[in-house]
């Protein structure tokens, strides 16, 4: 029973939790907190069981549950897990659990907050488990609503703008995805939403047709669909021209939500590309790979430069915000993922998926850390600190660890993934990769600069008696720190999980 429906249990436990939390009296704040903790802990345990029972040698979906849902439309409730998704599932359950701990201090609208949070977790887990496109889409959107409220209600001063922007952007992306979904269904024979069925050769056959008076051949139409799908996912990643929602949303969201946003939501775009675009439209993916590589490069460099500008720009011009710096650095780091994905080499793709995981852990740490300091001093101005290193040594140590992990210091997990990405992409795009390595320097530059501004130099007397990290905060940070270090020294536990599936994915491209 448990093993057969493991994934369903995992996805729907938070939903049950949401209902329970919603029914608790709002005066019992601690009950709400503890039950939320429980209902994020249970999925964590379930994902642990999943991890232990996961067969690394299999490339296909495991723990599959597939039952007919809407027979007239051939929609299935189909969930399963493979090497591509398992790391992200683990990341999701872990971060959700940690974020509940990090949300302990929230007072206003506690019940609503945790209900939304649990719904969000269910949505995220659903996305990573679903392999029916329709189900995937439902979860994809399901996650949007709680996110909107979480940013919009519990966010910072410009929360409304941030929330609506996030919402509009993502909705725009997802309606494009909807078109592609319907087109896949229509052009597949037999009609199906099953991603695995769709990826089989010969199922999808496109026709030539006219759109707006422009006649498209079948191949061009497939490319058009790919681009639609790509934009849908690109907005989530976010890829360069579609990124402007991100700094704002990250900055305005409350800390735990920023963590989820950066740690998990950004991965969904890349995951979607790998799960849907790659296997189903391999030729189009291949056709697009040059552009993807360039976009990856742009993300890397552009994100890094914008992050650096956070240090140089005064506050009035929208700079000087630590959280924004981290947000932009996320853009830069997701660039590595894109770069790795754009080359169909073993190193590249493993690097990309591993980078997704690593970015999840490091950036989660970063946002949690910003939250820690924000809780104490109620601002995030990079200029507003100075010399905290001796006042809050443990905090400093964690920040340094997170910063160094983000800038790809060897021995920490991001390094492995970045190096894999580079080794992979160098084979295909040597010159481009060389330019991309600039990103490493730029990343180092702004992270170190920020580190210096905040922790080094003469002590700002205002913060003479700043409190160091509390036990609860330590609890949220330590697991991530351990992951960062352990996987940095020995990455195989994570890479082993994804190996078979990614190799299988690559076989699709070997003939191209």
């Amino acid at each position: 029973m448990l093993y057969e429906h493991l994934l369903s249990f995992m996805i729907f436990t938070p939903v049950v939790g949401m209902l329970i939390v919603a029914l608790l009296p709002s005066s019992q704040k601690n009950w709400v907190r503890w039950s939320s903790l429980l209902f994020t802990f249970l999925p964590l345990c379930l994902s642990g069981i999943l991890f232990l029972n996961f067969d690394q040698a299999l490339a296909d979906m495991q723990f599959v549950e597939k039952t007919s849902w809407i027979p007239t439309f051939n929609i299935h409730y189909a969930v399963g897990v493979d090497g591509l998704s398992i790391t992200l599932i683990l990341l999701t359950t872990l971060l959700s659990f940690l974020c509940v701990i990090a949300s302990w201090g929230i007072e206003a609208g506690l019940k609503g907050y945790f209900s939304m949070f649990l719904l969000l977790e269910a949505g995220m887990l659903g996305i990573f488990c679903a392999f029916d496109f329709f189900l995937f889409y439902i979860f994809w959107e399901l996650m949007l609503l709680p996110m909107y409220f979480l940013i919009g209600i519990w966010g910072g001063p410009r929360k409304e703008y941030a929330a609506i922007k996030f919402f509009l952007y993502t909705l725009f992306g997802s309606v494009l995805m909807l078109v592609v979904m319907l087109a896949f269904y229509f052009y597949s024979d037999p009609h199906t939403f099953d991603l695995i069925e769709l990826s089989k050769a010969g199922i999808l056959k496109f026709n030539a047709l006219d759109i707006f008076g422009i006649s498209l051949s079948a191949e061009q139409f497939a490319k058009l669909l790919f681009i639609f799908l790509f934009i849908g996912f690109a907005i989530k990643v976010p890829i360069f021209p579609f990124h402007t929602w991100l700094p704002l949303a990250h900055v305005e969201a409350p800390t735990p939500i920023s963590v989820i946003l950066a740690g998990i939501l950004l991965k969904m775009g890349a995951y979607g590309l790998l799960r849907i675009s790659y296997p189903i439209l391999p030729h189009e993916t291949y056709w697009f790979s040059d552009a993807l590589a360039v976009l990856g490069l742009v993300n890397i460099i552009y994100g890094a430069l914008c992050a650096m500008a956070q240090i140089t720009l005064p506050e009035a011009k929208g700079g000087n915000d630590l959280k924004k710096l981290i947000a932009y650095s996320s853009i830069s780091h997701m660039g590595y993922v894109l770069l790795g994905m754009s080359v169909f080499t073993v190193e590249g793709i493993h690097g990309a998926v591993f980078q997704m995981f690593n970015h999840g852990t490091t950036t989660a740490m970063l946002f949690l850390l910003v939250g820690v300091i924000y809780d104490r001093v109620h601002h995030r101005k990079i200029d507003g600190f100075g010399g905290l290193g001796n006042v809050v040594p443990i905090y400093t140590a964690f920040v340094s660890l997170a910063f160094f992990a983000s800038l790809g210091l060897p021995g920490l997990s991001s390094f492995i993934s970045e190096i894999l990405v580079f080794l992979g992409s160098f084979k295909v795009y040597p010159s481009l990769t060389i330019v991309a390595t600039l990103g490493i320097i730029l990343n180092a530059a702004f992270f170190l600069w920020a580190l210096q501004k905040i922790f080094l130099g003469p002590l700002n007397p205002t913060y003479k008696s700043l409190k160091d990290i509390s036990a609860r905060e330590l609890l949220t940070l330590a697991p991530l720190a351990i992951l960062v270090i352990v996987l940095g020294v020995y990455p195989m536990p994570a890479l082993d999980l994804m190996k078979s599936s990614l190799d299988h994915l690559l076989t699709l491209f070997q003939a191209l």
């Binding site: 409304e160 500008a309 140089t312 720009l313 001796n390 160094f404 060897p410 040597p430 490493i440």
Partner: protein, 667 residues
């Protein structure tokens, strides 16, 4: 064997971790733990050295799987051969002595335990760098020593200059590291996924490493790229700017990291990967090295900060080593690394001792310390003699070999005369500025009595390392005989193997022998000249330098300002970069965000109007500007057809009806 290696290597890591977490609770904050740990490492490395002396050959390797994907496997492996053993000894010796020295030097510092943790961590990383057998791991430890250097330079981070220096060091070396990394990628790509030294060497030896990129043979390119890493780490021109600034760190750190070990990692790397460097790449190395040697020496001439002078001297000496490697005298280059480690560490520690006593780094404040600090003076004198290349001292042995190598190379390729010119002039300058330093610090009459008054000899924990290191500055330890053959024998087996794999073994030995005599003579003359000159300038006629400076104001200012290189970098790299950032971020906010992509901005502002945040002007402006114009303007315009007059509605309906009809008619 593996256990021994692991003990040797991981003990410093273990102590680092223990000190980091528990340091504050241990008695004496755990410094003894660090010292003892290093002692263990030192003992083990010395035992390897002993074994090496007995057997003359030593080779041990061990590999374990680390990262394996289908079609790609990167292993972690150790490789111990004579060169490794020597490096191990250098690192552990200096590190041990520096640990010991630091127990006094940093006494009472609030972050005493952390200091030792960093120091041990550095030692661990440096040992790792030396021990590993593959390029990727070399890069990993390469970066980790960089991190340790960052942490230690910025140890007194409350000083802004220190934190600036730390950042600068990390970033500057990282620029070089990018070259290194690209080189690794290139090799990885060309060899089809090989990263282990041996595999790559074999691949190269089989002549498979071919191809061109932009007209440059790939192998040369790879060599130059790898060397870029060495340029960063070993502070070669033009990436040398970080090293003088790095003197902001505690002096023992400067001795360990920025004189003896880490900065020599570049030299080690080039030596280790010597097979990969084609003659063209070697020439590049030689020129960079020679120029750096000369260039840094000139800057050392005028500086008055005792540590900075030593820093420039370090850069200069590293340039020497590089030049040696470039001209094919790799044994000499590497030997110079070893001897330099000893005397330069000694010099730094001496300067540390002086600073500890006088609380200043400005040599103009010092003088007359000889009587106050005799041990420091004598040890420093020995080290200075050694670096100046005076016979019977270690510096003489290695430098002589280097210069001979250079000379023989130039004799063979006269078009590269510049190399020899740089090398020999530098030799003279080295002697001059080192003695200048010695004179200004110890021998000249005291200038600032306050400084002198409370100066005193340092305690034993500081002087003992001085004595040991100055002892190691005697030639005897490196040669066994005066011609330096003793150590060369150690290299024997390695040497032969080297010659086998190098495609065109440079038949240096013979030419080397010929060049030996003239080189020795010339260098001795120059060194003596330099010493005498400094004697003249600083003891005989102390007003001379002043006058000279005034007469050659242009040169003097250039030197004082270090050729304005920092300013240049600021102007051409950093400022444009910052401008670009600002521009992009602004663009991100303004253009893309508000105008291009953010079609929704006007909508949002429009609604915010309700909440009273934005006034009409803002809305109008954004409405007119953004691409959202399409949506929001048309929205507002479209609404106007709803006039409220029902008869107009009907009229419009009739109009639309007619239009439809006409449209259909013409279809």
């Amino acid at each position: 064997m593996l256990e021994k290696v692991l003990w040797l290597w991981l003990t410093p890591l273990a102590t680092a971790i223990i000190l980091l977490f528990l340091g504050k609770r241990l008695p004496r904050r755990g410094d003894w733990l660090a010292v003892m740990g290093l002692g263990l490492s030192l003992t083990l490395s010395l035992s390897f050295l002993l074994e090496l002396f007995q057997t003359h050959t030593f080779e041990w390797r061990e590999q374990m799987a680390w990262l394996s994907l289908s079609g790609l496997s990167i292993s972690f492996g150790w490789l111990i051969d004579p060169i490794t053993i020597l490096m191990l000894c250098v690192v552990t010796t200096v590190s041990f002595l520096v640990h010991l020295y630091s127990t006094e030097y940093l006494k009472g510092d609030p972050n005493y335990a952390r200091y030792f943790a960093y120091l041990s961590f550095f030692t661990f990383s440096m040992l790792g760098l030396v021990l590993v057998d593959n390029l990727l791991w070399l890069y990993i430890f390469w970066e980790l020593v960089g991190l340790a250097s960052y942490l230690l330079i910025g140890f007194w981070f409350e000083k802004k200059s220190a934190s600036d220096a730390a950042k600068k060091a990390f970033l500057t070396t990282r620029i070089g590291d990018m070259g290194f990394f690209i080189g690794i990628m290139l090799i990885f790509y060309k060899t089809g996924g090989l990263l282990t030294y041996d595999d790559i060497f074999k691949f190269v030896a089989q002549g498979q490493f071919t191809g061109e990129f932009l007209g440059i043979p790939i192998l040369t390119l790879a060599g130059i790229l790898l060397f870029l890493g060495a340029m960063g780490k070993s502070a070669q021109f033009p990436l040398h700017v970080w090293l003088p600034d790095a003197m902001e760190g505690p002096t023992p750190v400067s001795a360990l990291i920025h004189a003896a070990t880490m900065v020599a990692a570049g030299v080690y790397m080039v030596t280790r990967l010597y097979v990969l460097f084609t003659p063209e790449a070697q020439l590049f190395i030689a020129y960079i090295g020679a120029f750096t040697a000369f260039f840094a020496a000139t800057m050392a001439l005028t500086h008055t900060d005792i540590k900075k002078v030593l820093a420039y001297s370090t850069i200069s000496q590293l340039g020497y080593m590089m030049m040696g490697l470039g001209v094919g005298a790799y044994v000499a280059g590497f030997l110079h690394l070893v001897t330099h480690a000893a005397f330069k560490a000694c010099l730094f520690l001496c300067s540390g001792s002086v600073i500890h006593a006088t609380h200043t780094q400005d040599m103009r404040e010092m003088g007359g310390l000889k009587s106050k600090m005799p041990i420091t003076f004598w040890t420093m004198l020995i080290a200075t003699l050694s670096i100046s290349g005076i016979p019977f001292f270690s510096g003489f042995v290695s430098k002589d070999l280097l210069l001979a190598g250079c000379l023989s190379f130039v004799m063979e390729h006269p078009e590269h005369l510049l190399l020899a010119l740089f090398a020999f002039i530098t030799a003279g300058m080295t002697a001059f500025y080192m003695f200048r330093l010695l004179c200004m610090t110890f021998l000249m009459p005291a200038k600032n009595l306050k400084v002198i008054d409370h100066a005193h000899e340092s305690p034993w924990a500081m002087t003992l390392p001085l004595c040991l290191l100055s002892g190691l500055s005697f030639a005897i330890f490196f040669t066994g005989s005066l011609d330096g053959a003793g150590l060369l024998q150690v290299f024997g087996s390695w040497h032969d193997w080297f010659n086998e794999v190098i495609l065109n073994p440079a038949p240096l030995d013979e030419a080397h022998g010929n060049a030996h005599g003239p080189a020795m003579a010339l260098s001795l003359i120059l060194a003596t000249g330099g010493i005498l000159l400094s004697y003249l300038f600083y003891l005989k006629k102390p007003e001379l330098p002043q006058r000279l400076a005034q007469n050659t104001q242009a040169i003097y200012q250039t030197l004082i300002h270090l050729y304005w290189i920092d300013e240049l970098y600021q102007k051409i790299i950093i400022q444009p970069l910052l401008k670009l950032n600002t521009f992009l971020a602004d663009r991100d906010n303004r253009w893309i965000d508000q105008k291009l992509v953010d079609g929704w901005k006007p909508l949002t502002t429009q609604t915010s109007k309700g909440s009273g945040h934005f006034d009409n002007i803002v809305i109008d402006e954004t409405l007119v500007d953004g691409s959202a114009v399409v949506v929001s303007t048309s929205a507002i315009q479209l609404r106007k057809i709803q006039t409220g007059k029902v008869q107009q509605y009907v009229l419009m309906a009739i109009g639309a009806f007619c239009i439809l009809l006409i449209a259909v008619y013409f279809l």
